[in-house]
Amino acid sequence: MNALTAVLDQPSPPPDTSPLLAVSGLSISFGGRIVPTVQDVSFAIARGETLALVGESGSGKSIIAHTVAGILADAARVNATSISFDGIELAVDRRAVEALRGRRIGMVFQNARAALSPTLAVGTQIGDVIARHRKLRGRALREAAVEALAAVRIPDPERRAKAYPHELSGGMCQRVMLALAMAGEPDLLIADEPTTGLDNTTQAAILDLLAAEAKRRLMSTLFITHDLGLARDYADRVAVLHAGQLVEEGSALTVFDAPRHPYSARLVRAVPARAATVADLGGIPGKFPDLSGTVPACRFADRCERAVERCRTEVPRLDPVPPDGRVACWRPLV
């Protein structure tokens, strides 16, 4: 047991029931478009919980994650009633998040090799983060970086610390990313498609590691994925996005066993085996709405066989679903 885990294994504070992250009324637009790419999305993550944000590519899930971390491109216009992180309001002052980034909010990206600088050794890159947030120098810093690599179960961390990203496998790079994201000991980890492009075995290893670390550190996780199967296996709760609208939210098991939104139901039906992903769904008819033109009020209406006139004119309310879910549909499945 090393010093890092010793600190983290201290008795946990009295349970705090307020959510760690609460987003409400979030809309994001790009350029001169009138139709927002993300429309009026609200969700919350409790302490220690893992929420999966699920949707096809283009559904806006990554944009939402980048907005929470405050690293969205300048061209985006963000509007939100509130983005509250542990009582700190981030929606009003977008710079407030800068103090949290890397320290209280960590982030893991897909395609880890490209997400690491090719000209610095991985130990150096982790060291940069540790130096920034824990003010360590010299030998202590080097040791902390090696420890961080050991914590994500990288074999022979002393030697690997001196390696460059191009010398490591994709899975190894993703572990380095994870170590880098956790170097500041964050309360919230945002994992943006962390295993896309990795083979199944490596994917499972990375996600198991992520889950284990989250549990050990009492860390909340916002898990962005297009793979509903992964969401079921690794998330406590699931929020389903379609074309920038939140259509359904609930505990992972409920959404899977009894989806209420026709879109969720299709997603579930389309994932009979673990191998299928939302990306290669052939089963959902109709095209993703083109956000540069006009779109129906419920953006799923054109693809939905249950759609009625109201779906095109009035945005569905987000209604509670027992026990703790919500669905946005005028004609939900029972």
Partner: protein, 284 residues
């Protein structure tokens, strides 16, 4: 996801003067060509006639660009020099275009040893300070207009040879070339009739962009006193002559020919961009 800045509001972009590739450069090139052909006929004074009674006069209505130390009209000399400067630049560009294209086409078509020798030679020339090479060649060839033309064209050869080589090489296995081959057409005909016409637009753009550079190179050589001899009016020589009088404040002698050089380079550079926008939209 379209989170890139190219989506930025188009409405904020104000209409701007197109500095590069604008139609103005075409007019300017036209003007230069006009001066090259008719310049010597329309100048107010004989560009080489001396008149010591009016030496070193500042610009006036009688002498727009002033007069030099022996009373020659600077305006007339600058205008009269246009023909020589453009002839040198165009001659050099055409020469390197012709030889460079031939070498490049041979290397690109034949491959093997021909390719290796040509490519190596090109690399050697490219891997060397080009102006130094031009000075060396011009020095070797002695004092004539031709030595400037040849020196300028040799250092430009690699540009054309390289482009042609890669373009010919790329098209060697194209369908229409294979078809021509199968119907028994000879190599030379295939390259000349079927491949080079496709490469021509690219070379034309390159050549027009290259003229400005050739003007600078030639003027640099004659500024140093290589090739062309005074009293022939030539922009580089005019600047060099004027430089001697800078210290006594007779600035007009070097400023006007220098400004003419700048204008010519800008005009041909803009013209090259204009041509590229029309012939080769991919690279615009």
């Amino acid at each position: 996801m379209t989170a890139d800045a190219t989506d930025a509001p188009a409405r904020r972009r104000l209409p701007r003067l197109r500095v590069r590739g604008g139609a103005w450069s075409v007019w300017l090139v036209g003007l230069f060509l006009f001066l090259a052909v008719f310049g010597p006929m329309i100048v107010p004074y004989d560009p080489v006639a001396t008149n010591t009674r009016v030496s070193l006069q500042p610009p006036s209505w009688a002498h727009l660009f002033g007069t030099d130390d022996v009373g020659r009209d600077v305006f007339s000399r600058v205008i009269a020099a246009t023909r020589l400067d453009l002839m040198i630049a165009l001659g050099a560009v055409l020469l390197s275009l012709g030889i460079g294209t031939a070498l490049g086409a041979a290397a690109g078509w034949a491959g093997g040893w021909t390719d290796r020798i040509v490519s190596r030679t090109i690399d050697t020339i490219m891997g060397f300070p080009l102006f130094v090479l031009a000075v060396g060649i011009a020095a070797g060839l002695g004092n004539s207009v031709w030595s400037v033309v040849i020196a300028t064209s040799v250092v430009n050869l690699p540009l054309y040879a390289r482009t042609t080589r890669s373009e010919v090489n790329r098209r060697r296995s194209a369908g229409y070339v294979q078809a021509a081959r199968l119907s028994g057409i000879g190599s030379f005909t295939i390259v000349a009739r079927h491949i080079l016409p496709n490469v021509a637009p690219i070379l034309a753009v390159q050549a027009s962009l290259n003229i400005g550079w050739a003007i600078l190179n030639a003027a640099g050589l004659s500024f140093l006193g290589l090739g062309i001899r005074p009293p022939t009016p030539e922009w580089g020589i005019l600047v060099a002559d004027g430089a001697d009088f800078l210290f006594s404040g007779e600035w007009w002698m070097f400023v006007f020919p220098g400004a003419m050089l700048v204008l010519a380079v800008l005009a041909f550079g803009g013209f090259g961009d204009w041509l590229r926008d029309r012939l080769d939209p991919k690279r615009a």
